[in-house]
């Protein structure tokens, strides 16, 4: 996992974030995000893209991702935390990237979309280019809260994950043409990727979640880029490169993060949850 590969980086990051959002001289920064399939954009209106192996035309039903602890890393390796603005899409260092607009098969989504993160960074970060570091998901301190009590963007019921008393970090749902064949002979319409913390245990004495065996929060560090000219994308062609989206291997249809769901191994690897790097994220020109 990334947290093991970059312990110093993350420790520095946490230290800096803990110091609070007081910057001597600061400036605004906007980081563009996107969800693509190879070179093509992915949204509810775009015709189904060929994805997976063997490739199958798959339309979109949902595409939302939480990210947190964003930071720029300069050429010298110095980490410059991005203090996120408080908006409907951002709260307490967490941002929601939302590529669905509640049209077409994305009928259970929200009409608004969001493909950028805004914040402030210390002026000392220089002129770039930088690498972008971020962590996928919702941090432990905010994850196990009730959606009906949380401020946006943590208030969405669709991103709530009731049975782990937490949230879905990634909600990526695809509708392959012809459906998804199940091992029991049945057929489902949607291939689900729900990434979230699993193996969570509550403390009945306090009524709180105390720990999760698998936090499932991979760290991502991108190639150098200039936010003015480039953005970071989650590429579904890479994410599902070895996944057969037309054939489920058991458990939940697709991968809902169950530790022994055979459909999770390949996508977890590309999200950086198997000891390697998160190859599903990359930098592209705007």
């Amino acid at each position: 996992m990334m947290t093991c590969r970059f312990p110093l980086l993350l420790a520095t990051l946490l230290l800096l974030l803990a110091a609070g959002p007081v910057l001597a001289a600061e400036r605004s920064v906007t980081i563009g995000f996107g969800i693509v399939a190879g070179a093509a954009p992915v949204d509810c209106a775009t015709p189904a893209a060929a994805l997976g192996r063997p490739a199958v035309a798959a339309g979109l039903r949902d595409a939302r991702v939480y990210v947190h602890d964003l930071a720029l890393i300069d050429a010298a390796g110095k980490v410059w935390p991005v203090m996120l603005d408080e908006t409907l899409w951002q709260h307490d260092g967490v941002a929601l990237i939302d590529a669905e607009d509640a049209t077409g098969a994305c009928r259970e989504g929200t009409p608004e979309t969001n493909t950028r993160v805004t914040g402030r960074v210390d002026d000392g970060a220089g002129a770039g280019p930088w690498r972008l570091a971020f962590t996928l998901g919702v941090p432990q301190r905010l994850n196990h809260t009730a959606t009906d009590l949380a401020p946006p963007p943590l208030d969405l019921a669709a991103m709530g994950w009731g049975w782990q008393a937490g949230r879905k970090y990634v909600k990526l749902e695809l509708v392959p043409e012809g459906g998804v064949a199940r091992p029991d002979g049945g057929r489902a319409g949607t291939w689900f990727l729900h990434l979230g913390a699993t193996g969570c245990t509550g403390n009945p004495v306090t009524g709180e979640i105390v720990s999760c065996d698998r936090p499932n929060r991979p760290g991502v560090v991108t190639a150098p880029f200039d936010p003015a000219r480039a953005r970071v994308v989650l590429d579904l062609a890479v994410l599902f490169a070895t996944t057969d989206l037309a054939r489920d291997q058991g458990g939940a249809v697709g991968c809902m993060s169950a530790p022994d769901d055979a459909d999770c191994a390949a996508v977890f690897e590309r999200l950086g949850l198997a000891g390697g790097i998160a190859t599903a994220f990359r930098v592209v020109e705007k």
Binding site: A158, W163, T198, N203, V205, G207, E208, A258
Partner: protein, 377 residues
């Protein structure tokens, strides 16, 4: 700085006021319990009040709470059935079939975890996100899109608005999912069942028949050993109460299935292993409370056993052998089976006597108590 201090002071004053008011209101609730039963743990932010319990009772029985307005909580939790539903698998508002059997709700206030095999859900408030918002399967079918529609059904009902105001006087906008969840949780905590024949026998107010007495002794004895998993005042082994410091949350494989000779349960529901990924958690489920068990059939996590007599036969055999069909296999040999489930020598009379004892746990008053019932129009 001064403004900040002022703001902080005001926040503290508000908190102190709420604590005082909340405390006073909490005192308005009386737990009517036998001396040997400690009061349950109640979350600090959701104290019990009669008004809140009454609102929760109305909401629990109101189908307007589901996305399409067709299903109330009480659709799958019927008072006359100990708040179970009599079916192997409940059906959600949109027709989805729920994979696990609906559980009775008697004395849920003392449960250390709330569902069949999930150590993450330890409060009724947190558990409620599953039936309300769950999508796999859909139960009540609330979504971001219909949330306001559902709330507006209550906001346009003056009597309900008044009930919300009375139950949540501290809230500026009392009709919310937060108040709905808190009210229903308070109502569920009020579902207290300690008036069965067994309880009256414990209190010395009634006597057992010979069969019931023999069944009791077998149940609590070292022969049948039912008490290992069903031995608490609540007849389960996951109990938390107001003064609990440490709680064991245990799950057991009872040898219902073994599909592959290596312990596999049906892929539709493999129990705790789905949460933990640990091989030893295959087929492990929580021991349910046996309060009102005679009316909560069918039994087991998947409702696959129809009668108490069949349940006793399975335990007497040390598990269940299924000789044909998709689930064929010898659960008695399941390698992950609890060490407490072994073949025991229970003859027909023993089994009948244990069933007779289990029937003394039926609390007729609880099953008909108007305080728990749907509001009358």
């Amino acid at each position: 700085m001064i403004r900040r201090l002022l703001a902080l002071t005001m926040v503290w004053l508000a908190v102190a006021w709420l604590a005082v008011v909340g405390g006073a209101r909490a005192e308005g609730w009386v737990w009517d319990l036998p001396a040997h039963v400690p009061p349950p743990r109640v979350p600090a932010d959701n104290p019990m009040t009669p008004a809140k319990v009454d609102l929760g009772r109305q909401l629990f029985h109101d189908p307007r709470l589901s996305g399409n307005g067709r299903l109330a909580c009480s659709g799958c939790h019927l008072q006359a059935l100990g708040f179970a539903d009599g079916r192997a698998h409940p059906v959600g508002a949109t027709g989805d079939v729920v994979r696990r059997n609906a559980q009775g709700l008697a004395n849920v206030a003392w449960n250390a975890s709330l569902t069949w095999a999930n150590p993450a859900l330890v409060t009724l408030e947190a558990q409620m996100a599953v039936p309300l918002f769950g999508t796999d399967p859909v139960e009540m079918g609330l979504t971001d899109a219909n949330r306001e529609t559902v709330l507006n059904r209550f906001r346009s009902d003056p009597e309900m608005v008044a009930a919300f105001r009375t139950a949540f006087p501290e809230m500026a906008a009392p009709v919310s999912l937060t108040s709905i969840i808190r009210a229903i949780a308070a109502y569920e905590r009020s579902l207290v069942s300690f008036s069965s024949r067994y309880d009256r026998w414990l209190a010395g107010e009634e006597s057992f028949t010979e069969a019931e007495r023999r069944g009791h002794d077998l149940f609590f004895g070292e022969k049948a050993e039912c008490h290992h998993c069903h031995g608490s005042f609540n007849f389960n082994d996951q109990v938390v109460h107001a003064r609990s410091r440490v709680v064991d949350r245990v799950f057991h494989n009872t040898g219902l299935y073994d599909l592959d000779g290596a312990g596999a349960y049906p892929a539709t529901d493999r129990g705790l292993i789905e949460m933990t990924g640990r091989a030893g958690d295959m087929g492990a489920f929580r021991a349910p409370s046996l309060r009102n068990v005679a009316v909560t059939a069918p039994y087991m996590h998947d409702g696959s056993v129809g009668t108490l007599e069949e349940v006793l036969e399975i335990y007497a055999a040390g598990g269940r052998q299924i000789t044909g069909g998709a689930d064929a296999g010898d659960g008695r040999r399941n390698p992950w089976k609890s060490d407490l489930i072994v073949r025991i020598d229970l003859d027909a009379r023993d089994r009948a006597d244990i069933v007779a004892f289990l029937k003394t746990l039926t609390d007729a008053q609880f099953l008909t108590d108007p305080r728990h019932a749907a509001p009358q129009d």
